[in-house]
Amino acid sequence: MFYIDCPHCGRRPEDEFAYGGQAHVAYPADPSALSDQEWAQYLFYRDNPKGSYRERWVHSAGCRKWFNAVRDTHTYEISSTYLGAPELTDAPEGVTT
């Protein structure tokens, strides 16, 4: 069990949250223009690093809002949480990973 800083509610135990996978994966602007290979990348392929990872969480048992976190997938340490829409392809300025 670890704790997560919800940008709205503050520090809460992990089991109040649900996981949403990799952050900043935008829906393709023109899906029909993609090749099968590119569509597969969008549908099935996500980064899977051992180390720093930007990912989505939702505070399901709290404010029920989505946000992003930067977490180390080896130590499980969360270095920051921040708001940001999923269509952003990268973290906003000022968020360091």
């Binding site: 069990m1 899977n48 499980y76």
Partner: protein, 406 residues
């Protein structure tokens, strides 16, 4: 069912050589899959100039962390074929390897707790039968006969509505399985090299020519990756991606008890699976932690959730003491089926994506991967499990039979 006596431990298991400068085949990962692949390369294909590289100690990853359940009752034809082939190999394994692995065909019950579970289970039983896999639908009363310690009453959150039963399924002693493969592979000339971490690959154009390790560069005609949860970190170094997410999967054992649990019980819906090891520990597994993780540990609330389900189903467990919990890192794909075959890199092969169910596949995966390496072409058993199915769309959705929700 009585407790089996442990046989004498052999005085010698395998050589512990330094790496040679070059091999015909280098297998990355010294767990069950890597060791079985090496054994079948030597035995079935006469390829013995082989090294198995293990970054820690032999069989110290998921092979030492799983709950040892073996079964073949998967839904789709492709899965039934490879898992049933694996089960048939298990049935002859003690004789083939000349080593006692405590393979015990005590049957597996997969419980149904909802109407949808019942429908899915009956469908799976019929599909299994068409594929020659032994399977039957059992009523709650039959569940109780097969496993008298189960609570089939209506007084729990998800009462037992029946289940599927595969009598030929069972368990084996996982570390002995690894040692059995390692010993035979070593006898046949395979170099088993521990504390040897792969740090990169040497390439000539699109072709792999060797591996870089913390013990120096090793040339290789062909390279196979059998690193389970850490596969992505290897393919990243090799320049291609795999559609895998790595998650912690936790398991636990109780202290030793008299033999009270005669079979293996799995419940997809309430997230618990339990058997009793030969020595008497109750061995249980939980669902995966939902976040990506490589820490070989998960979160305590997942264990709590699983224990509360276990105690409802098996009231006798309420007084058992937890002895030990641990986590392994499983390589989960989007269709809950493995990836075994060729890669975009010439001369490089992968065996990964077995997710939460890799142990049962040790013989079958090793058999198929060895064929794939030897012929530079997949065996019919693993042809459907190619990496390119995520592009063609020919997925093999086994979420219903995979037993651990992910």
């Amino acid at each position: 069912m009585g407790q089996r006596e442990l046989p004498e431990h052999p005085s010698f298991l395998w050589h512990n050589p330094d790496p040679k400068p070059s091999y015909d085949v280098v297998i990355v990962g010294g767990g069950g899959h890597g060791l079985a692949t090496a054994y079948y390369l030597a035995k079935n294909h006469g390829i013995t100039n082989v090294a198995v590289l293990e970054r820690g100690w032999l069989a110290g990853g998921n092979m030492a962390r799983n709950t040892t359940i073996i079964r073949s009752n998967y839904l789709w034809d492709e899965s039934a074929a490879i898992y049933e082939h694996s089960l048939k190999l298990w049935e002859g394994l003690e004789e083939d390897l000349g080593y006692d692995i405590f393979f015990s065909q005590r049957g597996v019950l997969n419980l149904a707790h909802t109407l949808q579970d019942v429908r899915d289970s009956v469908r799976r039983v019929e599909a299994n039968r068409l594929n020659g896999v032994d399977a039957e639908w059992v009523t709650p009363e039959q569940v109780k006969e097969l496993c008298p310690i189960i609570n089939i009453g209506q007084d729990i959150r998800y009462p037992v509505m029946g289940g599927t039963y595969q009598p030929r399924a069972g368990i084996a002693k996982h570390d002995w399985v690894a040692w059995a493969y390692a010993r035979r592979a070593s006898e046949l000339g395979v170099d088993l090299i521990q504390n040897c971490e792969v740090t990169g690959f040497t390439m000539d154009g699109d072709r792999v020519t060797g591996v870089r390790t913390n013990r120096g560069d090793i040339k290789a005609g062909r390279v196979a990756l059998a690193a389970a949860g850490h596969t992505s970190t290897l393919t990243e170094m090799a320049g291609f991606r795999v559609p895998i997410q790595s998650h912690p999967l936790q398991a636990l054992v109780s202290e030793l008890h008299e033999i009270i649990h005669p079979t293996v019980v799995m419940s997809n819906h309430v997230h618990v699976y339990v058997s009793q090891a030969h020595k008497g520990e109750l061995v249980m597994g939980a669902g995966v932690d939902t976040y990506n993780g490589y820490g070989q540990r998960g979160s305590f609330h997942v264990i709590e959730h699983q224990m509360s389900a276990a105690v409802e189903l098996f009231p006798a467990f309420a007084r058992a003491h937890l002895l030990r919990t641990w986590g392994g890192i499983v390589d989960v794909t989007l269709d809950a089926s493995p990836i075994v075959g060729l890669t975009p890199v010439e001369g490089m092969y992968i065996d990964c994506g077995w997710g939460t169910g890799g142990f049962k596949a040790v013989p079958g995966a090793g058999f198929a991967l060895a064929h794939t390496i030897a012929h530079d072409e997949p065996h019919d058993l693993n042809r459907p499990f190619a990496l390119d199915r995520f592009v063609t769309g020919a997925l093999i959705d086994e979420h219903g039979a995979a037993a651990v929700a992910h």
